[in-house]
């Protein structure tokens, strides 16, 4: 098995039917190869189709054309080898943190004894720093703690690929930093191949080995790939001050800006030359196509 192509996304297209004409391809020809043990961030403007790519890898969303291969096997349905931590923690509110994690463990390790399964659950929960809160219900936990349980549930399955769909999107910045460190620790320890969806440039640079920048939709694809050469394990304070960090960050923001300008130009062209002269277009803050037009991925 080629470790350079552990997760291979090739020429993936996701198209949604348009009632007034041709199908609209939200993602068109997305191509990405991910090495084993690599942490890759996918960054792009909101609505560009990042989450769509992730849900296709997870198998929750059908692929219109192209293919995704994980460790030599084509993705056709969801499974525990590609664990997902959703943007919302999506815990079952009627059972404890322990039971939430155990739900998947009991299924994936059905052949193991009860005590081993218990150990696995406890290990996963303590790995995210919840050793003391195992028997709490989601309603008794803060948002950050709930998200930790969501991550514990994912890593407890010992997945081949860990898929994180904006896992910090709903947290305040302090909790977010805390959780970033937790995840980095985990990844350094277990070397799990990970795909993180984010729209925060700092986060992307700090966490990943490589950043995949996506162009704006519709028809989004990989715009640019950027290697991040920080040593692991990483220390926030050390990295944040370096020139390299600012350079990576600058390049990322440059790319995102360019994407925005390109889209604006496209719009102006569509509206016709008169519009260019007479009616200055308002700054496009929202993309033409929303991610929400796809299946609901995370709330």
């Amino acid at each position: 098995m080629n470790d350079d192509r552990f997760l291979e996304i090739s020429q993936v297209v996701k198209a949604y039917p348009n009632p007034f004409g041709d199908d609209v391809a939200v993602v068109d020809g997305f191509d990405l190869k991910i090495r084993k043990g690599e942490v890759i961030s996918v960054i792009g403007h909101s609505g560009c189709g990042k989450s769509t790519v992730l849900t296709m890898v997870a198998g929750l969303n059908e692929i219109t054309s192209g293919g995704i291969i994980v460790d030599g096997k084509e993705v056709t349905e969801p499974g525990p080898d590609r664990a997902v931590a959703f943007q919302a923690p999506c815990l079952l509110p009627w059972i404890t943190a322990f039971d939430n994690v155990a739900l998947g463990v009991n299924r994936s390790y059905a052949h193991e004894s009860k005590s081993i399964r218990k150990e696995i659950v406890e290990y996963a929960l303590s790995a995210v720093g919840l050793a003391d809160a195992m028997n709490k219900r989601p309603s008794e936990m803060s948002g950050g703690m709930q998200q930790r349980v969501g991550i514990a549930r994912a890593i407890a399955l010992k997945p081949k690929v860990l898929l994180l769909d904006e896992p910090f999107g709903r947290l305040d910045s302090l909790t977010r930093m805390e959780l970033q460190d937790v995840i980095l620790d985990l990844l350094d320890r277990d070397k799990i191949t990970t795909m993180i969806i984010t729209h925060d440039p700092d986060e992307a640079v700090f966490m990943s080995d490589r950043i995949c920048m996506m162009t704006n939709g519709p028809g989004a694809k990989v715009g640019e790939l950027m290697e991040i050469d920080f040593e692991r394990p990483r220390d926030r304070k050390e990295i944040l001050g370096t020139d390299a960090f600012f350079e990576y960050r600058r390049r990322l923001i440059q790319f995102l800006d360019d994407c925005e300008h390109e889209k604006e130009d496209r719009r102006k062209l569509k509206a016709g030359p008169e519009a260019l002269e007479n009616k200055p277009m308002p700054h496009a803050s929202k993309p033409a196509f929303k991610e929400e037009s796809g299946p609901k991925v995370a709330v």
Binding site: C90, P93, W94, I95, L103, R107, S108, V297, V299
Partner: protein, 542 residues
């Protein structure tokens, strides 16, 4: 630590009030623990005292308005009459219980009770005598009083009648002469017509004057003389008690189970002697048969129970039991089918027409249908294996499972199944998509999905449905019992309506409150259950 205990007690009381939905009394508890007294008093006044005043005002209105409406069952009863009817029902029930225990008493206890009862009877008899004398006295007072009130009016009335009669005779002779004159052409006929019309009018006027006096007399006669009424009631009450004591005496002596048993045993001994002394084959056979009969009689007597009359409490028990059976039936049908409908669109499409068509059908129709169907199933309920099976199980056989219970429960279940079914289907269909995505990623099998995700997340709506169902059931049940005269509160109401005694109307209103109160308690019970199963801890509509 010891300082914390009152706080703990307070919060556990408050929690209890919160769970049971009696948050109205919340300030009362807080006030008792001296927490912000001003604020508590303010909310007490707003949400407890003002509502109480309002209820009191409504009761007052009832009290004032009710006696003004006369019906064929007497006046509309006022609250005090309703309360006294409740007390009468309570006494009746207590007496039935006493009679039952009397029936079962044996040995020394029986003799002692018998003595006590006889002593009481003697006491009551003297009391009755005294009261009857008092009643006779009151009656004569009443008579003379009414007579004295009526006689002057009657005299006036008679004088008026005399006057009117004389006037009428005078007018008719005038008319006679007038008609002769008209016939001979002396006068025009218009005068005659006018005279006849005048005569009619004057006659009606006279009758009107008379009726004023008649009404006065009527009013005096129907005016209730309070002391007389009281005396009558007192006599009735004591007579009633004597009747009851006589019954008790019976149950403590010749109708008592142990006494009857003793007598039969004696007979058996005598029969034994007869059997051994019998000479020819025919006599032996005859005596032996009688012996077997007596032995069987002893067996029956040993397990004989007191046949209690249906008191209102027994009817309540019966109704609650029926509603419980119906509720279980409805839940057993509605929940699985509801889950199926929620999970599968095809199942939903199949069942939608059935639900839409049968949901609006009146309970009365279902009652008749089930009465026929159940009747056909059990042509001879006494010996049907279904009922014999229930009769053979201890405890269950005391519940009185019979066809009328079955069809009442079926009717009730049929009407209650729909809200539970629809709500369950809705609860299952509206499960959070994210939870299902989690299930897909974890590759849970169907069973895990059902027990870990689908059922828990739909439980609050399932219970909402069950709560509505229980409310519907209770309403339908009373109507069904009234219509089919199967035992229960509905039958109590119906019997009272048919019975037409002086307390019937009050009893019906009493039953109305009882039904309402039990319905309220059942609903509260469901709310508490709902609170326990709902994971989000959300408020439920009260």
């Amino acid at each position: 630590m010891s300082e914390k205990t009152p706080e703990k007690i307070k919060y556990s009381i408050l929690r209890f009030l919160d769970v049971t939905g009696f948050t109205v009394f919340d300030p009362l508890v807080r006030l008792a623990f001296r927490e912000e007294p001003r604020k508590q008093v303010e909310s007490l006044v707003k949400f407890l005292i003002i509502p109480i005043i309002f209820i009191a005002a409504c009761t007052g209105l009832w009290w004032v308005v009710a006696p003004n409406h006369k019906t064929k069952s007497g006046e509309v009863p006022t609250p005090d009459i309703v309360i006294s009817s409740a007390l009468i029902n309570d006494t009746f029930s207590n007496r039935e219980k006493t009679k039952e225990s009397d029936f079962l008493l044996q040995g020394e206890d029986r003799l002692e009770s018998l003595k006590e009862v006889e002593h009481l009877m003697a006491e009551r008899a003297t009391e009755l005598e005294f009261l009857e004398a008092h009643l006779a006295e009151q009656e004569s007072i009443y008579k003379t009083r009414t007579e004295s009130l009526i006689s002057p009016i009657e005299a006036q009335l008679n004088a008026l009648k005399e006057k009117n009669r004389a006037a009428r005779t005078g007018r008719s002779s005038e008319i006679d002469t007038l008609s002769l004159q008209v016939a001979s052409g002396e006068r025009p006929y218009e005068a005659l017509v006018r005279a006849i019309r005048e005569d009619g009018e004057l006659y009606a006027m006279g009758r009107g004057e008379e009726s004023v006096f008649k009404d006065q007399i009527e009013a005096i006669r129907s005016d209730k003389y309070k002391p007389l009424e009281d005396a009558r009631l007192a006599v009735n009450a004591v007579a009633d008690e004597i009747q009851f004591l006589k019954k008790r005496q019976g149950f403590l002596s010749e109708s008592n189970r142990s006494v009857k048993l003793e007598q039969t045993k004696e007979k058996l001994v005598a029969q034994d002697g007869k059997l051994s002394n019998a000479e020819d084959a025919k006599a032996v056979l005859r005596e032996a048969k009688a012996f077997v009969k007596l032995e069987d009689g002893i067996g029956r007597l040993e397990t004989q129970q007191y046949a209690s009359a249906m008191t209102v409490y027994l009817q309540i028990k019966r109704s609650i039991f029926t509603v419980f059976v119906g509720f279980l039936m409805a839940a057993a049908i509605a929940i699985p089918i509801g889950i199926l409908c929620g999970l599968n669109k095809i199942a939903m499409a199949c069942l939608t027409p059935i639900i839409s068509i049968f949901k609006p059908v009146s309970p009365v129709v279902w009652l008749l249908i089930f009465q026929i169907i159940v009747g056909a199933f059990f042509p001879d309920p006494e010996s049907h294996p279904f009922f014999l099976f229930f009769d053979s199980i201890p405890f269950i056989n005391t519940l009185g499972i019979n066809p009328s219970l079955i069809f009442s429960a079926c009717t009730v279940a049929m009407c209650a199944v729909w809200p539970a079914l629809v709500n369950t289907a809705l609860g299952v269909a509206s499960i959070d998509k994210d939870h299902l995505n989690v299930a897909r990623v974890l590759r849970l099998n169907f069973w895990d999905r059902l027990t870990k995700i689908i059922i828990p997340s739909s439980l609050p709506l399932v219970f909402t449905g069950l709560r509505i169902s229980l409310g519907v059931e209770w309403m339908v049940l009373i109507a069904a019992e009234a219509l089919s005269s199967s035992d229960g509160l509905g039958k109590f109401v119906w019997d009272e309506y048919q019975n037409g005694s002086s307390f019937s109307f009050a009893n019906i209103i009493y039953a109305c409150f009882v039904v309402g109160l039990i319905g309220f308690l059942l609903d509260r019970m469901m709310i508490v259950l709902q609170r326990f199963v709902s994971f989000d801890g959300s408020e439920t509509a009260v």
